[in-house]
């Protein structure tokens, strides 16, 4: 026992003195510190109580709009992703071809183009939409944003779901079948609990990507967080409008990222050795 303990490789000793890479590293860290001090001191010097009183409530409202946009479209996308993932995995040529085209289109084109296609493009079909009574829905920019985002995230989530389900070994299906469970029971009791552990991290990444992507609804006149920042900048020509919004997004993304990591650590406790 003691013999093996002495065999364990020790980490190499830290280099002494000032090798070139340490100088480079300290210089870069100093650069970041200077950059941070620069931003903080700018925000401090440019502190404008009027600006803050005027726009802080708008930013808070915008944050609410952003969060509701992201959560609604994530949930709708999750619901829509189930049939798409089913189509992708089906043996029926037509069904899987259709699902493949759907996923390819929404992953192959920019979200901005899709949003324009919904918000401006559906305006071309105003008469038809009015006749089926859907025009009131698509008149509103927020609804158009949710619609485009849900379709887009459904394509990504379908791929996540498919990858996760296919990552579960076939033997699990066969074992369940030999116990006499039918397909749906197998999926619910055996496959999904294993698949969701695999899927957690990609789902978290997708959520973060959606929060970041939601900034583009500001371009189609939705007053989300970014939309309010644009408005504040247009009114005041004060660059701190964008600096504040950048800080809010950064904090939001970091919270989500660490939250997902924490959940992942919690639910994989039984897999650790």
């Amino acid at each position: 026992m003691s013999a093996t303990a002495t065999m364990v490789e020790r980490p190499p000793p830290r280099a002494r003195g000032w090798p070139r890479r340490r100088i480079a590293g300290y210089a870069l860290v100093c650069l970041w510190i200077l950059f941070g001090i620069g931003i903080v001191s700018y925000l401090f010097l440019a502190w404008n109580p009027e600006f803050f009183a005027k726009y802080a409530p708008a930013y808070l409202r915008g944050l609410g709009v952003t969060l509701s946009l992201v959560s609604i479209s994530m949930v709708l996308g999750a619901i829509l992703s189930v049939p798409v993932a089913y189509g992708r995995m089906s043996k029926n040529r037509i069904l899987s071809g259709l699902a493949y085209c759907y996923v390819y289109f929404f992953r192959g084109t920019p979200l901005l183009v899709q949003t324009y296609l919904v918000y401006y493009g559906l305006g071309s079909f105003r008469v038809e939409l009015q006749s089926v009574g859907l025009w009131d829905f698509f008149k509103d920019a927020f609804n158009c944003g949710v619609f485009a985002f849900a379709l887009n995230t459904a394509a990504y989530q379908a791929e996540i779901l498919r990858g996760a389900i296919e990552s579960v070994p076939r033997g699990q299906w066969e074992g369940a079948a030999s116990l006499g469970l039918h397909k749906l029971q197998t999926l619910r009791k055996i496959i999904l609990p294993q698949a969701l552990i695999v899927a957690l991290r990609p789902y978290g990444n997708e959520l973060i990507l959606m929060v970041k992507a939601s900034a583009i609804v500001a371009i189609i006149t939705v007053y989300d967080l970014m939309g309010n920042a644009k408005l504040a900048f247009a009114n005041s020509f004060d660059i701190q409008a964008y600096i504040w919004v950048a800080l809010v997004y950064l904090v939001m993304v970091e919270i989500l990222r660490h939250g997902v990591e924490w959940i992942e650590r919690r639910i994989t406790v039984h897999l650790k050795r």
Binding site: R21, G25, Y104, F105, S124, E254
Partner: protein, 239 residues
């Protein structure tokens, strides 16, 4: 205004808009191709810093990726596009008091896309670095290659092959992100399509065409990448 048919709208020339959209597509490709080498270089060095033994280098590189992966692309673009002229103006004012500075939207887009691309590419490079066994470095040193030569002759050829699929994904998202630069006024595919849509009132048609252009670019690049991958594989087999 006489009702124009779809085919005249999509024709090449003064009546139609196809030439404008094709020109926009060229700008899109040029922007993505101009960003690629810068982004790859920065991403490679960031990955190198992240796997260094020096904690300060790792810290600096981690701050970089946290910031540029955490900020929405649009916010980074606006910060840069509107913030950079103000900053430069403050600096230049000490030397020449009455100059105004405008940032070219192509250059601004290129820099911002390179920052974003490099922070994603650095993660790909980092995981490729971790996939290369330590023995490869040791072997390189053992036959008397210098640090730099080991990197160039031994590590990088393997690194590129391992990192290639991940870099392909980064490239596809770069291609899609170029559409964001239309917002600050670069006349690329989406911008030209939306001008056409506003003038002709055929919004669905022109945004549909724009989305087909992006799809075609994605298909084209998947052909190109599979060709590159095949040639990489062939060179491997020859050895």
């Amino acid at each position: 205004m006489p009702a124009q048919s779809i085919w005249t709208l999509l024709s090449w020339g003064p009546e139609g808009w196809l030439d404008d959209i094709a020109y926009g597509a060229l700008i899109t490709i040029a922007l993505a191709l101009a960003t690629l080498p810068i982004g790859l270089t920065i991403g490679f060095f960031i990955a190198l810093a992240k796997q260094s033994e020096e904690p300060s280098l790792r810290l600096a590189a981690n701050i970089y990726t946290t910031v540029f992966r955490g900020l929405p692309e649009l916010v980074t673009l606006f910060l840069f596009f509107f913030g950079m002229p103000i900053l430069l103006q403050h600096l230049v004012r000490y030397f020449r008091p009455d100059t105004t500075i405008d940032v070219n939207s192509f250059v601004a887009g290129m820099i911002v896309l390179a920052l974003i691309f490099s922070s994603y590419a650095s993660e790909v490079f980092l995981s490729a670095f971790r996939a290369i066994p330590k023995g490869q470095y040791e072997g390189g040193y053992a036959i008397g290659l210098s640090n730099w030569l080991t990197m160039r002759k031994v590590i990088v050829p393997q690194l590129l092959r391992i990192a290639f699929p991940g870099l392909e994904n980064c490239w596809l998202s770069l291609l899609k992100d170029t559409s964001l630069v239309s917002v600050v006024g670069l006349a690329e595919t989406l911008r030209n399509a939306s001008i056409a849509a506003r003038v002709t009132k055929h919004a669905f048609l022109f945004f549909g065409v724009a989305s087909l252009v992006f799809l075609a670019l994605a298909v084209l690049s998947s052909f190109a990448t599979s060709a590159i991958l095949r040639s990489l594989g062939r060179r491997e087999a020859q050895r």
